[in-house]
Amino acid sequence: MKIEVNGEFHDIDVTTLHELLHKLDYVDTIVATARNGTFVRATDRPLTRLEPDDRIEILVPRQGG
């Protein structure tokens, strides 16, 4: 399934957002997620089913002004 993650397309075999994070090695990392522009809580990731062409954001703490 083709999914856009942080602006880059991935052809990846996953069904949920939780699985996607595991595949991309974000298991022990503090991240925030959004699907198609809408925030997805950490607790909702296992229930969030992905569909082709979904746009996923995986964000981490960074410097800010």
Binding site: N6, G7, L24, D25, T29, I30, V31, A32, T33, A34, G37, T38, F39, R41, A42, E57, I58, L59, V60, P61, R62, Q63, G64, G65
Partner: protein, 259 residues
């Protein structure tokens, strides 16, 4: 006796809030935070390049500084982007605080005040404590307060411009119009004297980033801003004299020789 610097029920000694971006190194950032004596730093959420763990390293460094964090929505251009970014930040940083930025113009990074008011209302109703990056427009300020903001953060000048206070008259008017609302000058300062002037106008605090991070010596500049903010606050509280056009001798005229 100075009143406490209180933001959404939390009281701070330092009236300086420092951004964490653009420093030459993490070590300089950490030393600048300490030199500034700030108790609040701003942070953001961003994408991370595959395999990199820079975000985790940065977050560990900030946690070691023993400061409060104020996440921002920098770069957001719509209500939806800002609201969702705020929700993501709340989960990651574990705070209801959000520095709300909704940008309308990429050249000036001027806030989109219409979207700002709308987003502020949505977030306040959702339990956020909103720090709105706004202009000195009084009607917008009024709307932000009505939307649930308990403080205001008008710009001094465009972000990163280092111009100081572009509109001292407007900022003086804003201070007078909302005497009991905590107000912080956010953005556009370049030198400690700019911060001192803002504090002399009666502003409660200063939020800055570029002026320290991009200085030749960020650590020393952080110290300079800390001193300037204290000096400006003391000057405001001490009730300065009114300027006048003609000189008035400070040395007593009575008893002068050769008269």
């Amino acid at each position: 006796m100075d009143k406490a610097f209180t933001l959404y029920g939390k009281t701070f000694q330092s009236r300086l809030m420092l951004g964490t971006a653009q420093y030459p190194s993490p070590d300089v950032l950490a030393r600048s935070i300490r030199a500034s004596k700030c108790e609040i730093v701003t942070v953001s959420l961003r994408r991370e390049a595959g395999g990199s763990r820079a975000g985790e390293d940065f977050w560990q460094l900030i946690k070691q500084q023993n400061v409060a964090v104020l996440p921002n929505t920098a770069g957001c251009h719509s209500v939806k982007e800002a609201v969702n970014t705020a929700q993501m930040a709340r989960e990651v940083f574990g705070t209801n605080w959000i520095k709300l930025e909704v940008i309308s113009d990429d050249d000036t990074l001027q806030p989109d005040v219409f979207a700002l008011v709308e987003a502020a209302g949505i977030l306040a109703r959702d339990g956020f404590e909103v720090f709105p990056y706004t202009t000195e427009d009084l009607s917008v300020a009024e709307k932000l307060l009505q939307a649930g903001c308990a403080l205001l953060m008008p710009w001094g000048a465009p972000i990163g411009s280092g111009r100081g206070l572009n509109n001292p008259y407007g900022l003086r008017t804003m201070r007078a119009r909302f005497p009991d609302v905590p107000m912080i000058i956010d953005a556009g300062l370049g030198a400690p004297s700019h911060a001192a002037l803002a504090m002399e106008l009666g502003y409660d605090g200063i939020l800055l980033n570029t002026a320290v991070a991009k200085a030749g010596d960020p650590v020393l500049m952080a110290h300079g801003f800390a001193l300037a903010i204290e000096a400006g606050r003391a000057g405001y509280l001490a009730d300065p004299i009114e300027p006048r056009d003609m000189a008035v001798p400070s040395t007593p005229v009575f008893g002068r020789a050769f008269t």
